[in-house]
């Protein structure tokens, strides 16, 4: 057999270290472009605010993350992160539970499906941001409104994806479980539910992006802390040295959650990988 090519073509088989190296290339490239551009701009105008130099950025990060606010004793980045994650997780966990239950029942019970399926499809087409004002009016501008927005934005997607997952299971499984002695509730919660769990985790992974979007939108409009709040607050001063680290931080958080959930799936549901 011929040696497979390292990089090009359908038969390429890049080695383990080469893969790591290759994965780093786009990141390094972007960093290099940024640094070069910053230097060029600063050569023209030393007071440029649009592309802060790496030194300026690292000073800013130091200030944001590792030095306490003199008045409140808080570390800005961490308190913003805590506030945002609390909202994000509350919203997404509630959406996951509700979506799972709704999707399961829609997929298994024709009567339930007959009543709620069209309504869910209709509901899922509401642009959540368009009803944000209604939310502020109805539930007030505190935490509940932000969590509700995330919930409304993410829940239909999870419900519909769960529904599709249930539908894709062969009907034979339901019959089989009943012949083995399962009651109707057993079928839903002891036979089908465990098979849907990895799919649920995957659809949470996919909806994390949307959840962040709604979180930041809600915080931008009405909040007193949080990552989105901060970004939109300092926007007025064109403080790119704060905005850029915040954006990077949010991205990094999202990336880590995705990775964690993937690991969780691999660990808990070995059978799902096949």
């Amino acid at each position: 057999m011929r040696k497979p090519p390292l990089l090009l073509g359908l038969h390429a088989r890049p080695g383990k270290y080469l893969k790591w190296l290759l994965a780093a290339v786009p990141f390094i490239l972007v960093a290099v472009i940024y640094v070069t551009a910053a230097h060029i701009r600063h050569a023209e105008n030393p007071r440029d605010k649009l592309l802060p130099t790496p030194t300026a950025l690292s000073q800013s990060v130091h200030k944001l993350a590792f030095s306490a606010n003199k008045r409140t004793g808080e570390y800005m980045l961490w308190s913003d992160t805590a506030a945002s994650l609390k909202r994000l997780f509350s919203g997404i966990i509630l959406a996951a539970i509700a979506g799972l239950l709704l999707g399961l029942n829609l997929g298994l019970f024709p009567g339930f499906n007959a009543v709620f399926y069209s309504f869910l499809t209709f509901f899922s087409m509401i642009p959540p941001l368009a009803i944000l004002p209604i939310l502020f009016i109805v539930v007030g501008i505190d935490e509940a409104a932000k969590i509700t927005l995330i919930f409304i934005g993410v829940f239909p997607l999870i419900a519909r994806d769960t529904y599709l997952a249930v539908k894709s299971l062969p009907q034979e499984q339901v019959t089989k479980a009943i012949t083995l002695g399962a009651s109707q509730l057993d079928v839903v919660y002891r036979v089908i539910l465990p098979q849907i769990m990895p799919r649920l985790i995957n659809s949470v992974r996919l909806s994390l992006g949307a959840a962040w979007l709604f979180l930041i939108a809600a915080e931008a409009i009405a909040a007193a802390d949080g990552l989105g709040y901060r970004i939109f607050l300092v926007r007025r001063y064109l403080a790119m040295d704060i905005i850029l680290p915040y954006v990077l931080w949010i991205t990094l958080l999202g990336f880590c959650f995705d990775w964690l959930l993937r690991q969780l799936n691999n660990r808990l549901f070995r059978w799902y990988q096949a």
């Binding site: 034979e172 009943i178 012949t179 002695g181």
Partner: protein
């Protein structure tokens, strides 16, 4: 015309069963009854409705007309009296082989009972797994098993609950000839030991004749007095034989009598050019019966 037999005397009793999809009649006035302990096989050309018949007996699908009784009691939605082994999808992919085998126990007992009797259930499950020669694979997931091993696990999973009747839909259809033969012997062995009643669907005539104590041939290739409109006519049981008990002798497949039997069944059920009249079906089995309608026999025209 024989008189219809009484449902109570039989393990499985089906009378006047009709089923159509759209305007195409699939099962056409099926009558059959099965006594306990028989290994019935059902053969017929591909697409004649064998799986449909089995799904209806199982309760997974509803008939258009007709009655099904198990032990004299009506059988509609699936329940624990009927066990099932499909060609695929019989195992739950998220459970190990052991947990798949234990599933019936786990579903039938509450949390407290499961905790107290876990050891006992597990022992029994392992016993069944050793019967299907899978005890070393108890901890594996279905996708880690070969096709034959999956089918053996599925058989253990269904058997351990001791259903009144075990339905099997081409359980060995996807296996290579060698494994298939192994599984056939294995099934016969189990059937003899456990005194089970089995209803075994296959499109392989040789398999049906070899395994069964009784064979049903389901086919659309017959004639009656209803004219020649193919759409209006579905599959009937065109032959119902008792088969000689040959369990262990696998060289039976080469004996002249066996080959002749296959030939006669092939003519009756599989040859589109040979059309027996509905009144002349070979229904020799003592439990066989037939309830032809007047239009089928032509009485209404006289």
């Amino acid at each position: 015309m024989q008189t219809p037999k009484r449902a109570n005397d039989y393990l499985l009793h089906i009378e006047d069963l009709y089923k159509s999809y759209g305007n195409k009649l699939i099962l056409d006035n099926i009558d059959l009854s099965v006594t306990s302990g028989e290994l019935c096989t059902v053969v017929g050309p591909s697409g004649c409705g064998k799986s449909t018949l089995l799904r209806i007996i199982l309760g997974q699908e509803a008939q258009d007309r007709g009655h099904i009784h198990i032990d004299g009691k009506p059988a509609d939605f699936p329940d624990t009296r009927r066990g099932i082994v499909y060609q695929r999808y019989s195992l739950f992919p998220n459970l190990t082989v052991l947990d798949n085998t234990l599933l019936g126990f786990n579903l039938r007992h509450n949390w407290w009972q499961r905790r107290r009797q876990r050891k006992q259930f597990e022992q029994q499950a392992l016993h069944y797994l050793s019967r299907v020669r899978l005890e070393e694979h108890a901890g594996k997931y279905p996708h880690e098993l070969s096709g034959g091993m999956q089918q053996r696990a599925a058989i253990a999973q269904a058997l351990i609950m001791r259903p009144r009747i075990l339905l099997m839909d081409e359980p060995f259809g996807a296996l290579d000839p060698q494994t298939r033969e192994d599984m056939q012997l294995f099934l016969l062995e189990l059937w003899e030991q456990e005194k089970m009643t089995i209803f075994f669907v296959t499109h392989d005539l040789e398999e049906a004749a070899y395994l069964g104590t009784r064979i049903f041939v389901l086919s659309r290739f017959y004639s009656d007095e209803r004219g020649h409109d193919e759409q209006q006519r579905g599959a009937k049981i065109v032959a119902d034989h008792h088969l000689p008990q040959v369990a262990s002798a696998s060289d039976i497949k080469k004996q002249p009598a066996f080959i002749e039997l296959l030939e006669s069944i092939r003519r009756a059920g599989f040859d589109p050019d040979v059309l027996q009249h509905a009144r002349e079906f070979n229904l020799q089995h003592p439990d066989a019966f037939q309830t032809l309608t007047d239009s089928e026999t032509g009485i209404d025209k006289i």
